[in-house]
Subunit: 427 residues, 2 copies
Amino acid sequence: MKRYLNPDVSKWKTISRRPSFDFKEIEPIVLEVFEAIKNEGDSAVLNYTSTFDKVSLKSIKVLDIEIDNAIEKVSHELKNSILLAKENIEKFHSAQATKPIYVDTVEGVSCWQEKRPIEKVGIYIPGGTAVLFSSILMLAIPAKIAKCDQVILCTPPNKDGTISPAVAYAAKICGITQIFRVGGIQAIASMTFGTESIPKVYKIFGPGNQYVTVAKQIASLNHVAIDLPAGPSELLIVADSSAKPEFVASDLLSQAEHGIDSQVILVTTYEPLMDQVEKEILKQLNELPRKSIVTKSMKNSKMILFNEDVDAISFINEYGPEHYIICVSNEDIYLKSVKNAGSVFVGNYTPESAGDYASGTNHTLPTNGYAKQYSGVNLDSFLKSITFQKITKAGIRRIGPSIEIMANEEGLQAHKNAVSLRLKDLS
Amino acid sequence: MKRYLNPDVSKWKTISRRPSFDFKEIEPIVLEVFEAIKNEGDSAVLNYTSTFDKVSLKSIKVLDIEIDNAIEKVSHELKNSILLAKENIEKFHSAQATKPIYVDTVEGVSCWQEKRPIEKVGIYIPGGTAVLFSSILMLAIPAKIAKCDQVILCTPPNKDGTISPAVAYAAKICGITQIFRVGGIQAIASMTFGTESIPKVYKIFGPGNQYVTVAKQIASLNHVAIDLPAGPSELLIVADSSAKPEFVASDLLSQAEHGIDSQVILVTTYEPLMDQVEKEILKQLNELPRKSIVTKSMKNSKMILFNEDVDAISFINEYGPEHYIICVSNEDIYLKSVKNAGSVFVGNYTPESAGDYASGTNHTLPTNGYAKQYSGVNLDSFLKSITFQKITKAGIRRIGPSIEIMANEEGLQAHKNAVSLRLKDLS
């Protein structure tokens, strides 16, 4: 890991830079797939699945019997673990429900705000190096709490055309009844336009590689909303002498194993920690099956010393980490000053992987500095807030004249007239 | 206005189609301006302002003295009207504030969610056929309630390089201290990348024409969030015999005057209303200064009869109107069934222009069917929600084993190890 000692603020932007990829390089193939699926539907889905996934599908939709058969392969132990995670995620996301807001801004002018579910949502779960069934829990549970009418799931098929048992189980207990064995760009395009088999949705959620990321961005220009502009996973830990180097190393490694483009950062106010953690990393690394990925992603990773808390805090907010672990004796100061972060983990016994699976918080979070302007997925991600107003005769008498004056000033006489006619009717 | 009598559901998609423009046609010039401003900053801003706005600027930032001088030109009457609007908007948006949510999902596992302001936001206010100072209130007031650190405003200069007095006044009372006389694509590009004069922001808000719409979409691919994918304004009214044709006509005309691409729709369960409203439209139209715009936009507009409420309701939710006026005797049925709409106006004395200016609700709303997946601008548009978790030794003992099992199943051994090391340490 590259080290920086009290870097000057002028260097923070460079230090904060994430491993990037070339959108433009990937865009042409994404546009090609989108165009084909828009025009040819299922037949294009089958073609691209054959080309990209090397799987020749007999059907796109996974049958109920297949789901039930797959679930039989899930161990009792894993089922119980998934159920525990589900319960915690449900508790935390149910608590995020808000009540309608009613305000009489002026006597006779009632305004209110209510939330309504997004009717049709699509969840994408990638295959590849790890099939992240946990993301189904993170997306389907709040979708169900929000009461979205239709929640569909796309996930790439295994080489034999089946889907992962754990995916089938997680989907089943979350009440997802429509699963499609389609991955990558073709999955995102299918949910954007709809095909004979796959329904069009209004919002697409879920992680993915660079192709999926670009596909979601193109989807967002085609009348579909997306959860977040996703990017490689990342973790920033701030730690001092109260932290355990062994734990810090294990957390850094846990994010580094996601992919070769993952980035992990250690910020410390205690210089000896750098050597201690580095030593632990080398020790633990050898035990990891994904050692080759971790070794590569650790090259994107940094250790930064700041003598002063205030500088550490400013840098962290400038970085805006997706995952942010706080392991310092003066944790309150750090907690109060969190401005930009996806999810925050506090103390020695709160590993980042707890939030990935089972604490109850959501693991779909803003990466690449997007924590500066985006929330992670939460209950509201599946809702829209709609405003209402009802004005009485007395109410329009009170605010009508002001509306007339402002509409007139903006040169919008028809806007003014809609009020004038009513005031005239009342006089 | 084109008429449809009980159209079959198969035709709803076509009827719901909005006037569209070609993104691809506008994209090249937007990309050119973005590239130039990214590389050349202020000098490119000055060049494009000269080319597009035919104004040769001496300075980009509006001086305090200029703001104060402009404000002197605002009438007392207009000031009071703006202050009334400000008060109502403040009341309604302040009421939208939420408290942090704390949940112990399991004993020893504390999860919480807190909101934090987006630190830097940019507001764009177009010039052109009408200078909409009211949009400043709609965007700057919630930004201030949210406690955004930096709120900047870009608006195109008048031919003599000045800005509109009402804009200066609205900005001043909302506490905006940084105003830049820059419009169109160059304003959006400047806020996206930052220039010597104009700070980079994290999220861009505000209305605009097709060039601004495409520029905001390009901005959203360049690490900036945007409020909404904007489009031409639109209104749908559902009315029966309890509605006053005169009022209905005035509301339809008020949205139709925004631009030639505006769209207004009348849905009714009472056939005679169609003739009555058409007659009123022809009568009122002649009095309107923006008659030529209205005449053109009325060509995009439709009257639709449904014999059954249930069909009217389904169609309206399929359409997903930006503004939705409900003027029927059985308004409760319609209110309960609102699934997709930006803002809803109830009853004969609630003209849409009330929400544009002074009722207190926000007028920055999803158009073009985006009400299916987007909220209008509200207090949360200026906030991010961040999750936190703190786990005790007892807590990690409780959920740790489940995390290990799930991480193992996903093939993420380093995730598992972060928990295993802690459990080992505790045993």
